[in-house]
C-alpha cells in the first residue's frame, strides 16, 4: 500500500514537473508550479517527512506562485505599455 502511494506521488511529481517545464506562459506556469508543490507535499508526507511537507506546501504552493504572478503582472503591464507606445510612435510617423 505504502509503496503504491509513493509510486503514485512520484509519478504525479514527474508529470507535473515536466508540464511545468513545457508550459511557456509564465502565468500558467505559476499555476502548474502550485500543483507541483502540492504533489511534492504529498510525496514528502508519504515518505514520512511532514516537516518538509509543511514547508513545501506553504512556500511551493502558496508563496512562490504568488510572487511569480505579481511579477508577471508588473512586467506584463510594462510590455503592454511599451507595445502601445511603439504603435503610437509609428502612427505619429
Amino acid at each position: 500500500m505504502n509503496d503504491w502511494l509513493i509510486g503514485a506521488a512520484l509519478a504525479f511529481v514527474v508529470v507535473a514537473a515536466t508540464v511545468a517545464v513545457l508550459t511557456r506562459d509564465p502565468a500558467r506556469q505559476a499555476v502548474v508550479l502550485a500543483a507541483l508543490g502540492l504533489g511534492l507535499a504529498v510525496l514528502f508526507t508519504v515518505l514520512q517527512a511532514p516537516d518538509v511537507a509543511l514547508s513545501q506546501l506553504a512556500v511551493g504552493t502558496a508563496l512562490t506562485p504568488l510572487l511569480i504572478l505579481l511579477t508577471v503582472r508588473k512586467v506584463g503591464r510594462r510590455t503592454a505599455d511599451d507595445d502601445r507606445h511603439e504603435e503610437q510612435d509609428e502612427e505619429q510617423r
Binding site: P50, D51, A53, L54, S55, A58, V59, A62, L63, L66, L67, L70, T71, R73, K74, G76, R77, R78, T79, A80, D81, D83, R84, H85, E87, Q88
Partner: protein
Amino acid sequence: MTVRARLVMALAAAAVIAAFFAAACTQLPPFGSDLHPYGERAVAAALAHRTANVVSSVNFDIRAFDTLGEESILFGTVLGATLLLRRAPDERRRRPRPGRVLPTTRLFGTLLLPITVVVGVYIVAHGQLSPGGGFQGGVVLATALHLAYVAADHRVLRRLRPLDVLDVTDCTAAASFTLVGLAALAAGGAFLQNMLPLGTFNQITSGGTVPLLNAAVGIEVASGLSVLVAHFLDQAVELEDPDADRSDKEHRPWGSGPTSPPDGS
C-alpha cells in the same frame, strides 16, 4: 567560446558528476529501511534534550548554528528585495481602484483569515512537539494576512499590515536568534548551546531553547515574508513606471492591465 565547445564541456562535466553521484549513492543506506545511522543518533540526542519533534531538535538545538545561517539568508533576501523594489523618485504612486469581489470569495477570506492565523501560531508554538516550527508557521502566518487582499482589496490589506512595524519586528526577531546564542555564551556555555531547563517531555514548555528559537524564527519569517510580498504587491498594483505614463494617462486613468485593447487614440 562557441556553442559547440560549451555543449561539449557541459556534457563532459555532467558525465563526471553523474558517475561520482551514482558511485556515492551505492554507499547510502537502502531506501525505506528501518535502520538509519544518522536517524538513530539524532533521535537519541533529541530524547536526551526532551524534544519530541526530532527535526526541530536537529534544526534548533543540535544544528542551531546552521539555522542561524538560514535565517540570515532569509533576512538578507528580504533586505535585498526591499532595496531593489523600493519606490524610485520618478515612480508615481496611484490609488488602485477597488476591485469587485465575489461574495463567496469575501466570505471565504473572512472566515479563513482568523483560522489560518491560529493555525500559523499553533504550528510555531508546537514546533518542538509536532511537525512544523518557526519557518512553516511563519509562512502560514504571512500567507494568512494576504487572504485580506483576496477577500477585499489592497487598502484593507495595508490597514491590516503596518509595514513600519513589520520592518522593525523582522529585524528584532532576526537579532534575537543571535541574542539567545550569546546568552548561552554569557551563561558559560557554547554559542547557541541549549542551557535552559529542559522541562517535561512532550509538554509545550519542553526543549529548553527550542521553543524560544522557534518563536524568533516564526516572527522573523512571518514579518519578513509579509514585507517581501508587500513590496511585490506595491510594484504590481500601486507603482507606475515613469516611462509608462509618458503619454495619454487621462484616457485610461488606472487599472488597464495587459489585456486591455489599445484604444488607438
